[in-house]
Symmetry: C2
Subunit: 219 residues, 2 copies
C-alpha cells in the first residue's frame, strides 16, 4: 500500500512517510539565516588575514558556505536513508522532504543521486574548507584546489541534470518547485564554480608563463 505523499511520480512508494511538519518559509528561512551567519562570520574572520583581496574574501565565504552545505545538509541526507519517517520534526529531515518536491529522486533514494552525494560529502565538503584555508594562508596550491573542487561540483551537477533528463525529467511536484528548487537552487553550483574555474585557470596560466620566462632567462 503506497502512502499518500505530495511527490511525483505519485506511484513512488514511501512506507511510513511522515508529512512535512514545518512551513516552507521556516525551512528556507533557517537555511537562509544560517547561511548569512556563516558568511558574516567568515567575512569578519577573513579580514584578520594579511593581504587578502576583496575577491578572496568573497571566495572564502563561498567555500565555507558550500563546504558546510555539503557536509551538514547533504551529509545528513547520505547517512539518514529513512529521514522521511522521522516522527518528531527534525530540521534536516524537513529540508530534504521539502527539497524532494523539486526532485523526488532524493526521497526516493535514487542511486545516482546518492552516489553523487557520497562523493560530494566525503571529498568535496572537506576540500571546500581546505580551499578557504588555502586562500587565507596563501598556499601555493590554492588555485589548483579551487579548480579541482569546482570541476567536481560541475561534474556532479551535470550528471545530476543529465540522469534526470534521461529518466524522463518527471520528478517535480509542480513547475513552481521544478524551477525554484531543481533549476534555480542548483544553478548556483553551475555558475559560481564556472566563474572560479575561469578565474583560477587564468591565474595559474599566468604563473606557468612566468616559470617559462624564468627558465628561458636562466639558460
Amino acid at each position: 500500500m503506497a502512502a499518500v505523499h505530495p511527490f511525483v511520480p505519485q506511484d513512488l512508494i514511501l512506507p511510513d512517510y511522515v508529512p512535512i511538519m514545518l512551513p516552507q518559509l521556516t525551512i528556507l528561512g533557517i537555511y537562509g539565516a544560517a547561511s548569512v551567519l556563516v558568511i558574516t562570520f567568515v567575512w569578519i574572520l577573513s579580514g584578520m588575514f594579511p593581504k587578502i583581496s576583496k575577491a578572496d574574501k568573497v571566495l572564502m565565504c563561498w567555500w565555507v558556505f558550500t563546504g558546510f552545505t555539503h557536509m551538514f545538509l547533504e551529509g545528513y541526507f547520505v547517512f539518514t536513508p529513512e529521514f522521511y519517517k522521522q516522527k518528531s520534526p527534525t530540521y534536516l529531515a524537513e529540508v530534504w522532504k521539502e527539497y524532494s518536491k523539486g526532485d523526488s529522486r532524493y526521497i526516493g533514494r535514487d542511486s545516482t543521486v546518492v552516489a553523487i552525494e557520497v562523493i560530494t560529502i566525503l571529498l568535496e565538503g572537506p576540500a571546500c574548507l581546505l580551499a578557504a584555508y588555502a586562500i587565507a594562508t596563501r598556499k601555493v596550491y590554492s588555485h589548483l584546489l579551487q579548480i579541482a573542487v569546482s570541476l567536481g561540483q560541475l561534474y556532479g551537477t551535470a550528471l545530476y541534470f543529465i540522469t534526470s533528463y534521461l529518466d524522463g525529467d518527471n520528478f517535480s511536484a509542480s513547475p513552481y518547485y521544478y524551477y525554484s528548487y531543481y533549476i534555480f537552487a542548483n544553478s548556483f553550483w553551475v555558475w559560481i564554480p564556472s566563474l572560479i574555474v575561469i578565474r583560477s585557470w587564468k591565474k595559474l596560466c599566468a604563473a606557468a608563463r612566468i616559470q617559462d620566462r624564468t627558465k628561458t632567462k636562466s639558460r
Copy 2:
C-alpha cells in the same frame, strides 16, 4: 517475452537481442592491435617535436589512446542505443555486447552509465586530444588541462563503481568477467589519471612557488 541472453541479471529484457558473433579473442585482439598502432604512431610523431621528455612522450600516447577510446568506442555506445540488435557483425557493437558480460548496465542502458558516457565523449574525449597537443606544443595550460581531464575521468569512474555498489553489484555474468572487464579494465582509468594528477599538481605548485618568489623580488 524476454530474449535469451548471457547477461546478469537474467531478467534483463533485451528485445530482439542478437547473440555475440565474434570470438572474445578477436574482439579484444582488434582493440589491442588498434591501441598498439595508435600508440606507436603517436610515439613516432611525438619524437618530431622539440624538447619533449620521455615522460611527455608516454603521456601523449596515453592521451591519444584514451581520447580515441572515449570518442570512438564510447561514442558508438552513446549514439547507438540499439547496438545489441545489429544483425550483421559490427565490431563496435560486438565490443559492447562483450563488455556487457562484465557490466550489463551497458547493454541495459542504465541512465547513470549513459550520463557518464555523455560527459566522457563530449567533453573528455576532445579534451584528451587537446592535452596531447598541449604537451607537444608546450602550452602553458598543459598541466592544468591534464589535471582537469584526469579528475573528470576519476570522478566518472568513482561514480561508475559507487552506483553499481548501491544497486547491488550484480551485473556481471561471472567472477571472470567481473574481475577482468569490470575491475581490471577500468582500473587503468583509476591509477593512470591518479598518477597524472599527482605529477601535474607538483609541477604547477612548483610554478606557483616561482611566481611567489618573483613577486617578492619585484617588491
